[in-house]
Symmetry: C2
Subunit: 150 residues, 2 copies
DNA sequence: TCAAAGAGTACTAAACTGGTCCCATATCCC
DNA sequence: GGGATATGGGACCAGTTTAGTACTCTTTGA
């Protein structure tokens, strides 16, 4: 299905949630509440995203997470790279020699073209696009998130 | 990594092999020889491709497989569809309701856009492009394949 | 000094993938 | 008509990957 992993999908939701909270810090629990994802899962995702530099973290009490850049500077490609590694639809499109059939493989170059097209598509969509694609976070969800974090 | 399965990759090789043999019938064993893939695996792939209508089969002695259409009428999207089902990078981009977070998910529409871009890219590349992307099967490989089958 | 919150690591259960095997069916050749 | 050659269609198994959880450590603010 040429699908990305569920974690990546979740990661997008998490980032969208951080974007919705603007520049303020958000705890992982608050994100979990708002997104309906498991707290440990959200925590794991936020760690990965922090590692990738998409998110900044503040440790200690009153700590939390926030986007490292503005939403329009975070592309879908960034998210994919952070959570799944470099985009590569075939084994041989990522690194030469990774494919043990390489000497018999005559289709590599065209896949590279497709890969490039996909990457371009992914880079053309930013987190700002993602979150503006639908209505902003419903007030009810926001309120619940705030209540929890208070 | 947004990767497609290895089977799909192999399937492309198999189709390229059939294309190389023109309109004549090719047995699954011959394809396995030429592509260096396991015979059962090739057999399985050919069955799937036949089911999808990309390949036609002739049963019985002197039977075999051949492309159902000319290589320039078989797109990468066709191959993906045949071997992995409809392209859909996220669970919710394939079918509404498949995502149990749908009511909280605010990023669906943008993924659809990305999905469409990817599909367009896949449809723009045909099997003819794939196989012409590099040189035809090297003589050395062909010779080795023939030696094996002798 | 204590509590809140992130950092890091290890582990487990489930799902998927890749690969193989077996037997049924169809066709050609003798 | 019978044997050989091929595909058709399942079922099956092992390895890998993924998703999710748990636990402990470190940092920081009150």
């Amino acid at each position: 299905m040429l699908r990305m992993s569920k974690l990546t999908d979740y990661g997008t939701l998490v980032l969208a949630q951080l974007a919705a909270n603007g520049t303020g810090l958000t705890t992982s629990s608050a994100v979990a509440e708002a997104t309906r994802l498991g707290q440990p899962t959200v925590s794991k995702l936020l760690k990965l995203l922090t590692h990738a530099g998409l998110v900044v973290s503040v440790r200690g009490a009153q700590g939390g997470y926030a986007l490292a850049r503005s939403p329009d500077q975070i592309t879908a490609a960034d998210i994919l790279d952070a959570l799944e590694g470099p985009v590569a639809i075939t084994a041989c499109s990522s690194a030469s020699g990774a494919c043990d059939l390489e000497s018999h493989c005559r289709v590599g170059a065209a896949w590279q073209r497709i890969n490039l097209s996909i990457r371009t598509a992914l880079e053309s969509v930013t987190l700002a696009d993602l979150k503006s694609a639908e209505d902003p976070l419903p007030a009810a969800v926001l309120a619940r998130a705030l209540k929890k974090s208070a």
